[in-house]
Structures are given as C-alpha cells and as structure tokens.
Amino acid sequence: MNNLDAKQLDAAAVALLQQWQAKPEHTNQDRMAIPPQPMPCQAPEIRRHNMDEVSSGYSAAQAMLEANRCLQCPTHPCMEGCPVKLPIRDFVGAAARGDFDGALEIIKQQSLLPAICGRVCPQELQCQARCTVGKIFKKPESAVAIGRIERFLADREKTGTAPTLLQPDTGKRVAIIGSGPAGLACAADVRRAGHDVTIFDAFHKFGGVMLYGIPEFRLPKRIVEQEVERLRQIGVKFVPNFLAGRTRKLTDMLEKDGFDAIFIGTGAGLPHFMNIPGEDLIGVFAANEFLTRSNLMRAYERRQAATPLPEMKRIAVLGGGNVAMDAARTALRLGAEEVTLIYRRTEAEMPARHEEVQHAREEGVNFRMLCNPKRVIGNENGFVTGLECLRYELGEADASGRRAPVAIPGSEFELPVDTVIIAIGNGSNPLLRQTTPGLAFNAKGNIVIDDCCRTSIPGIYAGGDIVKGAATVIFAMGQGRIAAAAINQQLAEE
C-alpha cells in the first residue's frame, strides 16, 4: 500500500546513483531521464493517528539524484521566483556534486531558516513554478524538488556549528517584537551587523506561528527550537511574556529604555468569523484557538495537558487554506471519527498548497466543495449539533480572477457535527493601534510601511502579517530582512 517507504526509496536511489556516477558525462537528456524522487512519507492510515512528521525527508542518494535533475540553466528563473532570492541553481549544483556542506553554506548566505523554509514554503508557486524542467515536461510537479533538497541539506547539519560571522559590537540596541519568522530573520541580520538584539514575545515560548500555528506533523517543534537556539548562540537575547503596547509602550522603549530601533513582527490578528447565527455556540472554534490549544498547549497529550479540547467526533472545518488543512488534519489526529472540510468554491480555487490538500485527502478528510454554511445548529445547552449549509455553483470571474461562487436557492442541507472550526483568515490586531499614538494604520488596521519597512514613526519598522494580513513564512522572513537592512543603515548613519 505504502509506496513511499523511506528504505525502499533510498535503495532504488542508491542503485540509480551508482549507474549515474558510472557514466563519465551527462547530457540534458540524461538529466531529464532521472525519475523525480518521491518524498518518503508515513502511510496515511498510520500517520492520521500520530503527531509525528508526515515526511521523513530525502536520503543522501535521493537528494543527490534529484539535484542532478537540474539543468543548471543560465537564466536560473527559479531564483527570481524566490522571495529572498536564494541562489538556488548554485546550491542545487553543489548538492548534485555531493558537496552538501558547500550547498548549505550557499543557502545560509541568504536564508536563515532553511529547515523551516524547506518544509513550509509554497515552492510550487515560487521557485519550482519557474523551473525549466517543469516547463519542458509541461508539468509543474515535475520541476526539480528544490524545497526537498533544501530541507535535506538543512536537516543533515548537526546543531552547534560555528556561529555566523559577526561584526564587532556597536553598542546600538534593537528590539524585535514577536519571535515568528519575520522577527527571527530580522534579528539574525541586525545581530550580524554587530548590534545588540532583544526579541520579545507575548508567549512563554519562542517561534510565533511556527510554534502555535503550524502543527508538529508538518513542522516539528524541535526544528524551530534549533533556530531559536542558533540565534541565542550568536548573542540574541529573548524575553518571554512581553506584550508590546501593554507590558511596555513602543515609544517608551525608544525614549526611555534605550532602544535605537524597533521591528514589529507581531503577526496577524483577530480571526474572522462567518457572522452567521449560532457562531457563539459551544464547539465553534476559530482555527487559531483550536490549533493553539493543540500545538502550543499540547492539548493532544490529553493526560498531561491542562488545556482541554473537548472530545470531538464529527467535525466541520470551514475554509480552503493551509490553516484549514492543518485544523482538519489535527482534528483527525485528536481522534475525530469524521472530518469534513467545507469550501464554497472548488478545489482548483483553494489557496492551500496542493501537497497539503493531497495529504489531507489521503488521511481521510472529506471534501465538500461548493458549499457554504448558513447557520450553526445547537441544543438547549448551547452545544453544537449540526451545520446547515447551502450548495453553490461557480459564476462569473470576480476581481481576483477567481470565479465567484453563487448560492443555489433552496439547496439547504444539514450536516450533523459536534464541532465547527472556522479557518477563513484573520483581521488585524487593535492592540498597537490602541497604545501607539502616531503609528499609521490602513483601513484594514494593518501598519502602513514604505518599501524599506519603515513605519510612520522614525526608528520603528514593521513587517510580515501585521502589514500584509495573512501571508507566508517566507514572505515574513523576506520582510524581516528588508527591515533589518534599513535598520542597519539607520544605525550606521547615526
């Protein structure tokens, strides 16, 4: 049943690699004849009952074979597709020669979190979408698996390697608010320039959305902890239980606490709700709450964890993004008997990564496309008992180019569920607006920045979801680095 067994895949790759290495020279035809290397995965019927990572990662032979599928084309369009402009062709080239250390060195000049990006970047929309190999085959999924190679390289590095080269101490102090991807990336670049960096987080643990949002089976917590540890090793300080704006006002940090600059990377804010009747019934969760309870507070370890999640049998998840997939798959692992994902368009319009949709389907999540809930139904004690939905059909394309779903009148039907998880995105967080006079926000409540991530207050920078609404880990990292460059420039000029 499971054709993605790690041992079998490795044995096949080792055999192929021997033949490959026996040939003195390789043509592009040879390269294109190498079969794309599948990712070893836990079998769906097993992994839906555990929190362990779904994919165990390439073996060395697989990584080297996959890297040899790259044609090393002179235009390297993959690099253009990368938000942080990683020299992809070069590190893949090094990996193809078996120079894994050299390959990782190339990545690390540009990216600080390769183990994380290799796992959670939407490569199929970025680097791999532009890959020449995928174009030649007219199949994007035949592109060189850049993300898997990146992950392999990052994972094989042992912890405690030599710290990145640091500039001499400048005595300048920078506060980073939030320890998610934007904050960590910004911190690393600012610290490397010799500045004193302190990261503040509202939680008692560090990693932000990579900790409380993305589940263990997709991004193991130890990977995030390693990245945090790496920053500690180069002298970055971490302060937990600190809510900027409330524990301390941003302006006080600049004017009284001696910080020369502040980067705000506090992430997305309050979850959106559907605004349908019954949303305040017991058993209706925002995905943020559901995932935080499970991931950060470890509610999945029911015996030890003090934070409860109710016993859930039949669950409806509303939404079609990665967060919806994470929630649906977490629900399965928490022991749900039936998980139904409800999305008002079709699978083609789903914003979730194809791989996540496929994994969810394999694990047994039911997909009800072209449906939207009308109301949540509850019993006299206020507990959810069902969800009334309407069927939809696709109409004309809307402003975003996607065909707008249109409700079919009279098509109501009821789905018996005891839990409803809402994963339809986040709004902004009003906290900094309430507590930071002079900081400019747009109509959506997001912080306004310029091209260099500067806000309306000199010395305060911002990036990631707090300026964009929900985006990706790599986008947030990219903005963290843009802000870091601007901060380093400001501090050099002072």
Binding site: V239, T247, R248, L270, D280, A286, A305, T307, P310, P430
Partner: protein, 293 residues
C-alpha cells in the same frame, strides 16, 4: 521585562477557597492600571493560561497582588504554591484600563471574588473626586474580602450576604435598586462579579436612562493578546474580544445568555482534571503517611 521572575512573595488565605498571592513582576506592576488583568500559567509545557484580575500593585516594590478562587486545576495548583516558588508565566497588564474620569456619583458593586478587581477601580474613582458607594456581596461572612480596604475610602458601604451572617440578608441588586431610585440618581454603576450577578445588576439599571453601567467580563482565554478568538462575546450584536476590546463593556449591550452558556464549555472536562489532581494528591499523601509509619 528582565527581572520579572514571578516569585511568590506572600501567600494569604482569605477564606476557605479564596487566596491572595503577592507576585514579583516589576514590569507589570509599573504599567498596570485599574481594570486590567494578567494571564497566568503554572507549568510552561502543559499548563493552561488563565486570566486573573490584578487586585493591587506596588510599582516601587515591583509586585502585583492576585486574588483568586480555587475552582479549576490551575487555581488549585496556585493555591498550593509555597512562598519562594515561581509561576511559569505572567503576561500583562492586559486589556483596556478603566476609563477613569470624575463622575458625580459612582456605585461600585462587587460580588464574591469580583470584589478584588472592583477595589482598585472604586479607589481610582474616589481619587478622581467622585462620590463612591460600594456594595459588596458574598454568600456568607467568611467569604467577604477586602472590607476594611474599601471602608477606608468609600462614602457609603453596604454589605450583603446570602445567609445574613453579615450585613444585610440580601442580594446586591436590592441595595443597588434602592440607590438608583433615590431622588438624585448615581450616574455610573460598575458591577464586577459572577456573570449572573452582572446580568441582574444590568437589569436593575436598565430602566434608568441616565445611569451608565459598566461590567468586567472574565471569559475563557488562551493567548490573551488578540489572536485566538476564544474570548469572543456578543456586544450589541457585534463580535467583540474581551482580551483586546474589553474586559469592560457597557452592560446594556452584552448578550448575557450566550456568554453564560459559553462559560460552561469546559466544566465537565475541568471537573475531571481537578478530580484527577485531587486523587493524585491523596495518593501522594497516603504514600507519605505509609513511609512515616
């Protein structure tokens, strides 16, 4: 910021199930204002995060006082914390501070443990030059807290107990109604206590269009920073979040019935966890006894 080690400096049992802890948390102590709260966890890996109101703070000493009632697992563990031990996390001060402006006459109603967060608010209105009437309600004499502190400044102090063991044998709504019906109406009522009490205080004030009513909601929270959406309440038909929009709301706009139901969500699970904990404590005590014999 640094230096906040959340050490338990003092521990006081106020009544059978109510405790007061003095915690070392200088950055919270400096910034906190009346009406604000903190999130507390007793265990970094497996602990839950619960909201507790700040009863008092001393910015010079860098301490905050938390008054809480033993109801669930975390509050039971907190009640057992010895002086010198640490909480795993204290995040705060959270929520919007009470908007303190001089009012003509403020009636502050505190029920049970709600007297603790009511105290700094009443004091702040007094210091702002308002006439302050205080109504304190408790089940019985032993459960009355902070009486001397409140009497020290209140222009009027009314104590009610359910069983009549101290003060009037009445619910707090009775004297509240009398004050509202006086010839000169108060212009603000602040009610903090069990949700049912706040709901009925609102009902008393409802007919008096010239009296504002402010209530402080204590819902279930996870992060307390405007991320999880667990603390949502319906305020005048809109979804609002207690952690960042509250904790204080216009009592007239609160959808009390929906909120009361949501507070019951985890009762059965919480009871099980607490029973588990008590079982383990008893087993440990038995084991200790056996080794002593």
């Amino acid at each position: 910021m640094s230096g906040d080690d959340y050490t338990v400096l003092q521990r006081q049992q106020l009544s059978e199930n109510v405790f007061r802890l003095k915690i070392h948390a200088p950055s919270v102590a400096v910034e906190r204002r009346p009406g604000q709260f903190v999130l507390v966890a007793v265990d970094a890996d497996y602990g839950e995060r619960i909201p507790l109101t700040i009863a008092d703070a001393d910015p010079q000493a860098g301490t905050i006082d938390l008054v809480f009632q033993k109801v669930g697992l975390t509050t039971s563990l907190m009640a057992e914390l010895p002086v010198g031990s640490h909480l795993a996390a204290v995040l705060g001060p959270l929520g919007c501070p009470t908007h303190i402006t001089p009012r003509r006459h403020v009636v502050c109603v505190g029920g049970g443990i709600g007297v603790a967060p009511m105290h700094p608010i009443a004091k702040a209105f007094h210091e702002a030059g308002s006439k302050v009437s205080v109504i304190v309600g408790a089940r019985s004499r032993e459960l009355v807290i902070l009486e001397p502190e409140l009497r020290a400044f209140a222009d009027e102090f009314i104590l009610c107990t359910d069983d009549g063991s101290a003060g009037r044998k009445a619910l707090v709504t009775e004297p509240l109604k009398e004050i509202c019906e006086r010839e000169e109406h108060p212009d603000l009522v602040v009610a903090i206590g069990p949700p049912v009490m706040m709901k009925f205080c609102t009902a008393v004030v409802e007919p008096f269009a010239d009296i504002d009513i402010l209530v402080s909601l204590n819902t279930i929270m996870v992060d307390g920073t405007g991320m999880c959406g667990g603390c949502r309440v319906r305020i005048g038909n809109e979804i609002r979040f207690v952690c960042v929009d509250g904790p204080e709301f216009d009592g007239r706009l609160v959808d009390w019935d929906s909120m009361l139901k949501r507070l019951q969500a985890y009762r059965p699970i919480e009871r099980r966890k607490l029973e588990d904990h008590i079982c383990r404590m008893e087993a440990a005590a038995d084991a200790r006894e056996k080794t002593q014999q």
